[in-house]
Symmetry: C2
């Protein structure tokens, strides 16, 4: 793991870019060491520099966490396979034409999750070597499908906050039953592209004994600011 640049913000948060082989990543810390680690992934290939992700990461770091994200294979500026390019072109066409997109999302997101998980696990290994980071590890992310898969295969992940506003492939909807860690699921009640029923079914499916659903009125990007605080308090209960 190579740190390539760093920036210190007024709120005391240190933002460092790193590379791990061909994986680019960002780590936010606030100087309280060693801090519990939060893995924060953006949905379905959105870049790690997306302002909403950065804002959530900085807020969470200021609350005493080490927060890390990466652009996994096919995400952000990483090269995409021909199949991925084709699926994304199909998706754009179908969305513009108002046609069903479930099967296209399935063919795009399913393989992306498969490729992303080992890269997140490699990153986790490297991060836990750093003196400023300690377990336990939480997952907090818009990319729910990745989080489900990580929660199932990665015993170091002790608690997870998910956002229901993203496509979850069949494989992850099925393995939701195998998720047993405490979790918080965020749902936007009127999310345009993500059927409410599917989100409620997903919440129902999780195997966790402690699971909480927070639903708020509004569309996909309308999550109220107080959910960021609530999300940190959820992590506090399980990681601190």
């Amino acid at each position: 793991m190579q740190f390539t640049s760093e920036q210190r913000f007024d709120d005391g948060v240190l933002q460092r870019e790193f590379t791990l082989g061909e994986i680019p990543g960002t780590l936010w810390t606030s100087g309280i060491a060693p801090a519990p680690l939060v893995l924060m992934a953006h949905n379905n290939g959105l870049p790690k520099a997306d302002p909403r992700l950065v804002a959530r990461a900085r807020y969470t770091a200021a609350r005493g966490y080490a927060v890390a994200t990466i652009d996994a294979a096919g995400c952000g500026d990483r090269p995409r396979s021909a199949a991925e390019e084709r699926a994304r072109a199909d998706l754009r066409r179908a969305l513009q034409a108002g046609e069903p997109v479930d099967e296209i999302f399935e063919s795009l997101v399913g393989p992306m999750v498969e490729k992303a998980v080992p890269e997140w696990q490699m990153t986790l290994d490297a991060l836990l070597e750093l003196p400023e980071i300690a377990g336990p590890v939480g997952y907090s992310g818009g990319w729910t499908a990745l989080g489900i898969r990580l929660a199932v295969v990665e015993p170091r992940v002790a608690a997870a906050g998910f956002f229901a506003g993203g496509f979850v492939p069949r494989a992850q909807r099925e393995e939701a039953r195998q998720v047993t860690i405490p979790l918080l699921l965020l749902l936007q009640w009127d999310d345009e592209g993500n059927p409410r029923r599917r989100a409620l079914d997903l919440f129902d499916a999780f195997g966790s004994k402690e699971k909480t659903l927070h639903a708020n009125l509004g569309g996909h990007t309308g999550t109220p600011w107080f959910e960021l605080e609530d999300g940190c308090r959820f992590l506090d209960r399980h990681l601190k």
Copy 2:
């Protein structure tokens, strides 16, 4: 309003019993004056001395609120009408026999809400005269039907926390659309006696622009302790 007894607890909360005409009530304060007022009602006639209600009230008072409850007409030890006694006997029989109880609840709870609302409003008038109490006013209660009716008819109520685990008569399910204050609805995902679908429909029906649903795994009485903190933070956002 006559105070009839008082008790000071280790956490600094002062608990005072009062009467207002024939209405018995309890007021909890923690000495931070003037404090915003929270009306806390227990479900469908349960007594104001119920330990779960008292625990919630004391916790909320320690967080800087004046918290009040009353035994409204037909609640707690207040005399019941012949119709109420009959409905309660019918209810016990039906529950023991495993028969449907919706219509019995309708005939019991509907009139109870009608009779309780003016008594809660009288109490509100009297409480707001006290120097240790100030607006704004919140409602936080197990008795959701009463809270809906109060939120509709009582402009002094500025925010409300409801518990979905109670019977809501048709009249209040319909007037939920007229509720426009910020609200937090608590739902126990596996509540034995209260269908989940009905709770989700109620959440959907509320007319409020800011509304949040918190659902947790477990049965009717299994609400996790952290929801008490979350409920106070919800009140903090709107009453402080």
